[in-house]
């Protein structure tokens, strides 16, 4: 095995180690970092960076250790290496910046003591225009996605004044290219505070350089060359993937020392026209020239490291990634709406693509019942730090993404695991982004991370006022409501109701179905008890209280004479056959009720992290298509039940039948995904 360690002790040393190992992996070298070397106080972003490379396998004789920052190895560091090697003879390469011959000898001796083998010390060759690094800088590019318009990465532009920012905004108005900013963490924060999310901004710690590079078809350098390894590796990846690098610094501090870097205008105001007239027409030639340039050659992996490639090449499957299955990841949110929506889309793709899922345990039963292979994820726990479960999920999702053709995410909060799983594999990513956020809801993370997706598909709501302002971005596509429509005839319905009555042992002629949600956002036990108690006064009713198979239940619910507590992963089937449906107002149940023309009493579930259920209910109530009852209106609730089981229900059904509803969007959503599948 090939182990990598660092002689440094600070965060930068560990960051350099992770970046270096990710580049080695990209070159086909199966390097790992011993889990024992992982500092306990790492920030979450560094934990995600390192996750793919950690190993608990012990060192064995014949293994190789690549030690970075060898000049920093001290007695404690050598003892740590000795503990890892446990007496085995480990070949070792040391990278370092040894100011004197004596310091080199000291470091070598310490490492030799630890590993029982004399190490080989390497001082990396420099590469103009980059400042000297004590770690080898080399490229390991990923494939680049084909884009309609090239993306120009603006590296460290001045954003300190409103004038400077205005010029960048003007640059971003070009119809010939898109722009994204690459900068530091604090500058990114400043940019978003001043300018919002219209122009995407990245900070260099957001993704590993290997995952960040493929996003850019051109890069303009506004600042001088930087010593930080992330910057240097990013430049190496850009060069090897053929992304032309343009020097827009006033002093031409890149192009003056490296002829392969193109000199561009130093004024941002001149950049747009220059790119459109001079660069874009010959972008293809420039890409080839960049790939074949001396700069790119200088970023080839050094011989000492290249030799670490396995001699007996593992039969690495060279498959066309675009022919792999589509990987769906729905979040569980409050209910199961995300998973249900994804399963409908995947079902619409069934003839043309295989789909598989990564989903939370509450959804796995439904998804496997729909025929989809499903990998369970781990939910958050209030007893663990917020990122810890996502780190576990990343460790499952990323390997699954590796041979997938695309990743489809459905949820409100874009997890690190999803963003990184797609980016690390340069995988096309699609976000099924349901709208109807609550006014004032904090959706900063969602707005920021939409930049990571190749395409955003927005399932619209049935009623216009619920759909926000349409975005004009080319990668945002709107489709009709994604909803499962009933295909049952009247006779099928009658037959099913008969079987159902026999199964649950209820004789009431009027079927009432209650689904008030999973109880995550709000406790609905009081409302449910109010409904069940009221049903006891109605001998003509058969009341099904439907709970999700993994939902909590209250023992009191089981003692009502004409209520039966039932569970099923196919619960949607009950909506079209009901005389009255009493429901929360999630996207799926709302549209299923409306499209099935089922008289419904909607009771909203509202929480700060949810969509605006009340607005949905109001839209239906205002049109006389359903009733909206607030959770505290329990007297009104029981009265409304009686109304709806009489003439009001007949009227609601009639109104629903007359309603001209938009065409459903399931097939269109599937089509948007299938464009990425071979």
């Amino acid at each position: 095995m090939i182990f990598c360690e660092t002689g440094g002790h600070d965060t930068t040393a560990f960051d350099n180690l992770v970046v270096f190992v990710s580049q080695l992996r990209g070159c086909g070298i199966p390097a790992v970092i011993s889990a024992k070397s992982l500092p306990d106080d790492l920030r979450p972003s560094h934990q995600f960076d390192a996750a793919a490379f950690l190993s608990n396998v012990a060192m064995n004789s014949g293994d190789t250790l690549v030690l970075l920052d060898g000049h920093k190895i001290d007695v404690d560091g050598a003892a740590k290496l000795r503990e890892l090697a446990k007496g085995a003879e480990i070949n070792c390469l040391i990278y370092g910046n040894f100011e004197t011959r004596q310091s080199e000898i000291t470091a070598s001796a310490r490492v030799a003591y630890a590993l029982n083998v004399q190490p080989k010390v390497i001082v990396p060759a420099g590469c103009d225009p980059l400042p000297p690094s004590n770690i080898a800088v080399f490229g390991a590019p990923l494939r680049q996605e084909k884009r309609v318009k090239p993306v120009v990465g603006l590296f460290a532009p001045d954003i300190s004044t409103s004038d400077a920012r205005a010029q960048l905004r003007t640059l971003a108005m070009s119809r010939a290219f898109d722009v994204e900013i690459i900068t530091t963490g604090s500058a990114k924060k400043d940019w978003i505070e001043a300018e919002g999310h219209d122009i995407p901004a990245w900070h260099l710690g957001e993704l590993l350089p290997r995952a960040l590079a493929p996003r850019f078809d051109l890069v303009t350098m506004f600042g001088p060359p930087h010593v930080w390894l992330r910057t240097q590796m990013l430049l190496a990846n850009l060069s090897l993937q053929g992304t032309p690098i343009i020097d827009t610094t006033p002093k031409q501090c890149w192009s003056s020392v490296c002829p392969d870097i193109v000199t561009g205008p130093s004024r941002v105001a001149d950049l747009s026209a220059w790119l459109e007239k001079v660069i874009l027409p010959k972008l293809s030639e420039l890409r080839t020239a960049t790939r074949e340039s001396d700069l790119a050659k200088a970023f080839a992996i050094p011989e000492d490291l290249r030799e670490l490639r396995p001699t007996v090449a593992k039969a690495r499957k060279v498959s066309d990634q675009s022919s792999g299955p589509v990987l769906f990841m729905p979040t569980n949110g409050v209910g199961l709406g995300h998973a249900k929506r994804c399963s409908l889309i995947a079902d619409a793709m069934r003839d043309q693509a295989t789909s598989r899922f990564a989903a939370f345990p509450s959804c796995t039963g439904m998804l496997t019942a729909s025929g989809f292979a499903t990998m369970p994820l781990v939910s958050r726990s209030e007893h663990r730090a917020p990122h810890e479960n996502d780190l576990v999920n990343f460790g499952r999702l990323s390997p699954l993404a590796k041979d997938s053709s695309a990743i489809v995410f459905d949820g409100g909060y874009v997890f690190d695991s999803v963003m990184r799983a797609a980016a690390d594999q340069a995988l096309p990513s699609i976000w099924i982004r349901r709208g109807l956020w609550q006014a004032g809801q904090n959706n900063q993370v969602a707005l920021d991370r939409q930049k990571t997706f190749s395409r955003i598909v927005v399932p619209t709501e049935a009623f216009d006022e619920l759909n926000g302002r349409r975005e004009t971005a080319q990668n945002v596509h709107y489709v009709g409501p994604i909803v499962q429509e009933s295909r049952q005839s009247a006779s099928q319905t009658a037959k099913l109701r008969k079987k159902l009555a026999a199964k649950v042992g209820l004789t009431g002629k009027k079927l009432v179905v209650t689904m008030l949600g999973g109880g995550v956002a709000a406790d609905r036990r009081a409302q449910i008890n109010a409904i069940c108690a009221h049903m006891e006064t109605r001998s003509d009713v058969a009341h099904l209280l439907v709970v999700w198979p993994t939902a909590t239940t209250d023992p009191g619910w089981f003692h009502y004479r004409n209520t039966r507590v039932v569970q099923s992963v196919h619960a949607s089937v009950l909506i079209p056959i009901a005389d009255l449906f009493i429901s929360a107002i999630g996207y799926n149940s709302f549209h299923e009720a409306i499209y099935a023309h089922t008289p419904t009493i909607f009771v909203p579930q509202m929480a700060g992290f949810m969509d605006d259920q009340r607005a949905r209910g109001l839209a239906a109530a205002d049109r006389e298509l359903a009733l909206l009852i607030e959770p505290w209106e329990m007297l009104s609730l029981t009265k409304s039940i009686d109304d709806c089981l009489g003439d009001r229900g007949v009227q609601l059904r009639e109104n629903l039948r007359k309603m001209n509803l938009p065409e459903t969007g399931t097939k269109a959503a599937a089509g948007h995904i299938l464009e990425y599948v071979a």
Binding site: P376, V378, H383, Q484, V504, D554, F558
Partner: protein
């Protein structure tokens, strides 16, 4: 956490303990009636051959998380339900015992299952799914859960 000197007031004020007390109050010998067999034939999405539960053979190694202030001691209950779910009556008895254990010993209980619905969910237990086509993959999946939860004991 209540701490070593338990009192009535501390017991009633401790949110975690009351969470487990709430679980205890949900204990019941009756469970929802599963009507999947009745509805599946009417659901256009349902497939005759169910999908499998998968776990990637090359899932990343998970380093056990370090202790922090959020953590409480946790005990895993590994259910022997590879082939079929435990009967509802058994689940009800076990659920009350594990909730009692959590209350008395001030720990959390996490149920590990091979089934989609182990039966403990309706009481409010945290249930984790064990996945994988092979014994090795299932063991790897369990390692992930051990690293995340840091179980003190596995029953």
């Amino acid at each position: 956490m209540i701490g070593p000197a338990r009192t009535d007031a501390a017991f009633l004020a401790d949110r975690q303990t009351q969470h487990w007390a709430e679980i205890m109050t949900r204990a019941s010998v009756v469970a929802p009636l599963n009507i999947d067999d009745l509805l599946s034939s009417e659901n256009a999405l349902a497939q005759h051959d169910p999908g499998i539960v998968i776990f990637p053979h090359d899932a990343f190694y998970q380093k056990p998380q370090v202790e922090n202030a959020l953590r409480r001691p946790s005990i895993a209950v590994l259910l022997p339900d590879q082939n079929e779910r435990l009967p509802a009556e058994d689940v009800q008895v076990l659920a009350t015992r594990y909730a009692a254990l959590a209350i008395e010993k001030e720990c959390d209980i996490v149920v590990l299952t091979y089934q989609h619905n182990a039966g403990f969910e309706r009481f409010g237990f945290r249930v984790e799914r064990i996945a994988g086509a092979t014994r090795q993959e299932q063991e790897h999946c369990l390692e992930h859960l051990r690293a995340f939860w840091g179980f003190e004991v596995v029953i």
